[in-house]
């Protein structure tokens, strides 16, 4: 009577193959996960203390981004609107709306509104809004169609690779600064995108750097 029955041949070879394949599969899986929208947090829904609807303000009312995010052109930070800015309209408009009761409460108590940050870079990354906005990188390029978002969510992966890709070849992303905040601007199809980009890069003297100290300090 032999030690092992015949079927063990198949089993043993199969298990051998699996043993080798397992780590490979695991590593591949991890790589896929970090690239997935879950890994990049793009699918994460961030609920805000106040139901602020960008669709309404940007889309319907067509308010320029810079009206609220007022320091985006001169500061690394886009500038979150101070409650005063909300009230500047909502003192007259909807000044009784229950939706805005919290805003009024914060305002009259002179307390800041604790917004939840959506685009959250690691703290060792120094992204500067001012330079990008001044050199023709539009809001929509990174933040997506905010005018169509009820609840703002992260549009781009914001991975280093994603940043570097653009820094290596910015031209296709550039647009005339007068349309910087436009959500709908499309380059005139007749002109070649790359050419237009190159021309803008010339005009705004864009030269992107990929040295580490560009973002890490």
């Amino acid at each position: 009577m032999p030690l092992f029955p015949r079927w063990t041949n198949t089993v043993s070879r199969l298990s051998g193959v699996i043993l080798l394949a397992l780590p490979a599969v695991a590593i591949a899986g991890l790589m896929i996960v970090v690239r997935s929208t879950w890994g990049t947090k793009q699918d994460r829904e961030v609920v805000q203390p106040i139901e602020f609807d960008h669709r309404h303000h940007v889309g319907d009312e067509g308010i320029d981004c810079r009206y609220c995010h007022y320091t985006v052109e001169k500061s690394p930070y886009p500038g979150m609107p101070s409650t005063t800015i909300c009230m500047s309209c909502h003192a007259q408009v909807w000044n009784k709306s229950p939706l805005l009761s919290l805003v009024r409460e914060y305002y009259f108590k002179d307390r800041p509104i604790p917004w939840n940050s959506v685009h959250n870079l690691p703290d060792y990354v120094y992204f500067n809004h001012a330079i990008h906005v001044n050199k023709g990188v539009g809001c929509v390029t990174c933040h997506g169609r905010v005018d169509q978002m009820a609840l703002v969510n992260q549009a781009a992966p914001l991975s280093m690779g994603w940043c570097v890709d653009c820094h290596r070849n910015p031209e296709p992303q550039l647009r005339p600064v007068e349309f910087i905040t436009s959500m709908t601007w499309k380059p005139d199809p007749s002109v070649d995108r790359q050419r237009l980009g190159a021309q803008l890069a010339q005009q705004y003297n864009v030269h992107t750097r990929i040295s580490c100290d560009t973002c890490h300090r």
């Binding site: 032999p2 030690l3 015949r6 041949n9 043993s12 070879r13 051998g16």
Partner: protein
Amino acid sequence: MEHAAEHAAPIGKTFVLGRFPTGEALVDACYKVREKGFDAIDTHSPYPLHGGDEALGLGQSRVPRIALTGGLTGMFGGYLMMVYMNAFNWPLNVGGRPPHAPPSFIPITFETTVLLASLSIFFGLLALMRLPQPYHAVFEHEGFRSAVNDGFWLSVALPPGSDGKDASALLQQLGAKEISTVQESLE
């Protein structure tokens, strides 16, 4: 084999086993058995037999070619990987050294060469030897356990249909001590 499968109900291979007192006896026997027209034979011994390969009429081994292929893959793969990563995909200014620095790439190239060669040898061997194969018909015979310790066995695979009488007889006359006919089980 297929033929048999088509017509009759499948039956496992049959082997005739015979143990010989010494390696030399076994080797001689091989020649004789092959003269008698049994080509599907194999020896089983605790260590490689002298002239065993010739006795079984085996030619050049394929292992060296496998090794060479693996080695070359490792060599070029390794070097090109480094060139791509450090010189092509993202050439960084590292201490003013040239991004493509052949001397610095040699050690890893060597390692990858050896690594892939060795892996291909090992797994190539397993493939050539059809291992792992915990079950084989020869194990059906309890006495065959001596084959890896102190016994020298000759196994003759019988052509389909043959009952193996002639083979056993032959072995007997060649001086095999312990002769038995084993059949491969099907489950």
